[in-house]
């Protein structure tokens, strides 16, 4: 089971620490527990986690 860890990565909007579960994969969405901003994990390499703002829903998205 994955465990929530504090990674030292800060929310790009409110600067609060983001909780990222260990074992998270590139492309996963991480929501800031403080302001609710969604982030996308863009790197999960040994160098640590990197995030960018999650993409907005685009018009060709769907089932």
């Amino acid at each position: 089971m994955s465990t929530t860890v504090v990674t030292g990565v800060a929310c790009l909007v409110c600067d609060s620490p983001l909780d990222i579960e260990s074992g998270s994969e590139k492309g996963e969405i991480v929501e800031c527990g403080t302001c609710g901003q969604e982030h996308e994990l863009t790197d999960t390499s040994e160098n640590g986690y990197e995030v960018s703002l999650a993409p907005e829903v685009e018009e060709d998205w769907g089932e």
Binding site: I29, P55, E58, E59, G62, E63
Partner: protein, 294 residues
């Protein structure tokens, strides 16, 4: 250069809870599986590396899904769903033509390439009609027009953002009055694994628009229509939407989705869709045969 000995690539736009569950379920089957975002596809497609045995397509973006399916096809990588199934499922116009050709029950649907054609078809069908874009999801752009004045309003609004009419064609569909719900049947491989009734006061019964869902038994009608859908598109992973005419009781296929959502299905309906799909994938790979024609 490319992936080393990966059984399954999971092609995604973003890794939502649905895809995360599927990834975990694939790994639980003993398969090596990894997610691939669009930029990572370059490495997969590069010549000279080992190909994955199969790619599972879960791209939210329809354009990405079709492009990825076709590129992997030409690279010799089998995909679930097949490229042609992905293409057909992402175009309601192609679906309507397929249903008509194969005799799969579907509300009367016509293509319109001009505003005048929308008017003429609506007049021929009789009001109300449903107008919808050929590509779109979650109920976006789907409009019910009850009389000529509403068509004028729809036309005016559309012309203001698309004066050249580049967003045509659209589909004009006979309006079928539903009994307050429609049905979503999830198909894994060839089997309908769960049926969900989507209940709403809104005539559009998409869950993204607030419809409440409840699990229902898979009926003979649903099973028959799902079998026809699978026969038309090939075995795969589908969300088959159906509705019943509240006056005649006739069940029709409304559309087939190649990327159905299932994240809450296990908790809500007691059906582990991700696990079933992963078992289906494992079964295909175990067969040691080409899993799909490419």
């Amino acid at each position: 250069m490319t992936t080393a000995a990966t059984d399954v690539l999971l092609s995604v736009t973003v890794l939502r809870p649905d895809e995360r569950r599927l990834l975990d379920a694939l790994r639980s089957q003993g398969l090596t599986a990894r997610p691939v975002l669009q930029p990572d596809l370059a490495e997969v497609l590069a010549a000279g590396g080992e190909r994955p045995r199969l790619a599972v397509l879960r791209n939210l973006s329809h354009r990405e899904a079709i492009g990825t399916a076709r590129r992997l096809e030409q690279a010799g990588v089998a995909t679930l769903n097949s490229p042609s199934a992905v293409e057909v499922c992402n175009d309601k116009g192609l679906q309507a033509l397929l249903f008509a050709r194969l005799g799969i029950l579907h509300p009367a649907t016509r293509h319109a390439f001009t505003y005048e054609q929308v008017h003429d078809i609506a007049t021929e069908f009789g009001w109300p009609v449903v107008v919808k874009p050929v590509s779109g999801s979650w109920g976006r752009g789907v409009t019910r027009l009850s009389h000529e004045e509403e068509l004028e309003a729809w036309t005016g609004g559309r012309e203001s953002v698309d004066a050249a009419g580049k967003l045509f064609p659209v589909l004009v569909q006979q309006y079928v009055e539903k009994p307050g719900h429609d049905l979503r049947i999830v198909v894994v491989g060839t089997e309908p694994v769960v049926a969900i009734s989507r209940n709403s006061d809104n005539w559009r019964t998409n869950t993204h628009l607030g419809a409440q869902v409840e699990r229902v038994e898979v009926s003979d009608d649903m099973r028959r229509l799902c079998a026809q859908a699978v026969a038309a598109l090939g075995p795969g992973f589908y969300g088959v939407d159906m509705m019943q005419d509240r006056h005649t009781g006739e069940m029709t296929v409304l559309e087939i989705n190649a990327n159905p959502e299932f994240a809450r299905s296990s908790e809500t309906h007691g059906v582990d869709v991700a696990g079933l799909y992963a078992r289906h994938v494992a079964g295909l790979l175990e067969s040691e045969r080409p899993v799909l024609a490419v």
